[in-house]
Amino acid sequence: MNERNSIFTPTRRALLKGGASLLAAPAVLAAGAARAEARKEVVVVNYGGAAMKAFDEAYVQPFAAQGGRMVLDGSGPLNGKILTMVQSRNVTWDICDCGVTTLAELGPRNALEKIDYSIVDKSKVATEFAYENGVVNYMFSSVLAWDTAKVKETPTLADFFDLKKYPGRRMVRKDSQAMLELCLIADGVPLDQLYPLDVKRAFAKLGTIKKDVLYWNSGAESQSLMRDGECVMGLLWHTRANVLKAETNNRIAYTFKDGLLQPGLWVVPKNNPAGPEAFRAIASMQQPEGQVKLLTAMGNGPSNPAAQSMVPEALRATNPADPANAAVQARINAAWYIENHSKTFQAYLDFISS
């Protein structure tokens, strides 16, 4: 392997440092230069947009109250970008908002730090979502949504594949993750017996409606396809379905039933600049109060089981990790993805483009 793949020359670190010192200046004056210098700043990367403001209120401010310094970067921690940083030994990120596929692609390439569970509290997460190289930050679901103007009764996942019963176009994600699971559930595989995934069977199921399927890439795309009435039913993230429901005055409805519950993960790139301070930041973000704020703002389900009871009654229906909602969903199996993600995703792209 090449020692220094300096194809990209990241300068974001320098930029962020400049910005952070500006932001931190009043804090330094207030708290005394020595203390502020003692703790390194932690750069947290997410996918931007509404998440910037929500993360700031839910995580950055509470961490600052504890004397920590957290900076948000909304540029999107794609697997390839993280690996580039690690291999060029020019890591500018400390914590990345990733998913199970990051464990699958970057774990074996030795690009992720092991989560330090002496700092990050395992008792504050569902243990099944506390992995060696990543720990759950929030829960989300891939769910079935439909256009109530065209689908009158509540459809089941099996109806999604029934073009006779509900004619019209369908929408799925251009990613095998969760889509294959939902195909299998629709085909009658029990929620707790999905893994190992029968990929062939899932493709066969998707193949039955292939002519009538559109594939979405970004979350925004999934929203616009449903909003504009291009599709009568769709499989998408519950957070997006939730926004759609509100902005269309309930014309778009969705259900957690037979959905797939997935963890968003914090991962720490190897040799991150803040070192162990990153884990202290993750520990700080385990506080239930911030997680409930994030649910209120964005619909991301709290990962700390203790937060579930703090969720206001009105928000319970939108919380994928709420015990009532979790009970009717399948759960993703990271171990299977670590083994199979790359080739399954490739096969999925081949399948839909053939």
């Binding site: 392997m1 090449n2 793949n5 300096s6 194809i7 794609l78 697997n79 390839g80 970008k81 690996l83 596929t101 692609e105 970057l106 390439r109 251009k174 559109l214 594939y215 979405w216 890439n217 504009d228 009435g229 291009e230 993600h341 790359s342 995703f345 490739q346 792209l349 081949d350 839909i352 483009s353 053939s354």
Partner: protein, 292 residues
């Protein structure tokens, strides 16, 4: 025209440090910049393609063994050829009109050709999205006028990709063809007419052959652009039209198979280089790109 070899010959009056050598010094900074910012990174990418995940030509062997890569390349080639052909026909018609119209009309026509060129490709793809979708302007007009009774599938398929790509490529087709046609001596056509050729014969036997260098240049330019096109197929293709640029993106950013991604980038580079070499035998490349 003097050949580069003539220019390289040092002036005999000042041995060792000729006039031309000093001129070469002037371009040295630009050359250094090219090497550092362009040639070095590209060679790193090509290097990756023969070293990732292990040294050897395994990645290039996938061109012969991987059905999915072959299918993706075939899709890329097919769409590029079709969009190039459509673009050329449309660009030829527009250029012909541009040359033969009055100065005032020509200025307005040029505005119509150039303004889209200055608008972001992303915005243009979304504009097509608004026009072509099921409840978009075009389908609404077609349905309300009774021409069709169900909305046409104009988008989320290859039709949508082709419409968006041809629209983007048109200025790149029109400009070289127009530049060439402008230089054609109209008196040749007039002479042919004077000698008794019909309008069609004069066009086919005189004007068309004279305009061919522009057509060849435009075709190669448009075809090369089409090969590496990313945004339009990704947005208008409904996820089903997988072309090489998007395939590379997936390899690099998502499943981090850098070897495969850089191999495909290298393959694209080789194909384009080959096309340019082939083209150079037909037309004068410097004139072609300089005339735009």
């Amino acid at each position: 025209m003097s050949s580069p070899a003539d220019q390289l010959t040092p002036s005999p009056s000042r041995p060792g440090f000729g006039v031309t050598a000093r001129y070469w010094l002037l371009i040295l900074p630009a050359l250094a910049l090219m090497i550092v910012c362009y040639i070095y990174p590209i060679s790193k990418v090509l290097w990756l393609s023969v070293t990732e995940p292990r040294p050897g030509l395994d990645n290039y062997a996938m061109l012969a063994t991987s059905a999915s890569i072959q299918r993706m390349l075939a899709t890329t080639a097919r769409i590029s050829v079709i969009s190039t052909l459509i673009t050329l026909v449309l660009a030829y018609i527009v250029s012909y009109a541009l040359v033969h119209t009055s100065e005032r009309v020509r200025r307005w026509m040029f505005l119509g050709v150039l303004v889209p060129l200055w608008i972001s490709v992303l915005v243009r793809a979304f504009a097509w999205f608004v026009l072509l979708r099921r409840e978009g302007l075009i389908n609404n007009i077609l349905i309300s006028s009774g021409l069709v009774d169900a909305p046409l599938s104009l988008i989320w398929n290859e039709t949508g990709v082709l419409i968006g790509m041809v629209h983007y490529m048109l200025p790149f087709g029109i400009l070289p063809i127009y530049a060439n046609m402008r230089d054609i001596d109209q008196r040749c056509v007039a002479a042919a007419r004077g000698l008794g050729a019909s309008r069609a014969v004069a066009f086919r036997q005189v004007f068309l052959p004279l305009s061919m260098p522009g057509v060849v240049g435009a075709s190669i330019l448009v075809f090369i652009f089409s090969l590496g096109f990313f945004v339009t197929p990704a947005i208008l293709g409904g996820g089903k039209t997988l072309m090489i640029a998007e395939y590379i993106k997936v390899q690099i950013l998502e499943i981090v198979r850098w070897g495969v991604g850089s191999m495909l980038a290298g393959t694209l580079l080789i194909i384009i280089g080959g096309l340019l070499v082939a083209l150079a035998r037909v037309v004068d490349l410097r004139k072609l790109f300089g005339s735009i």
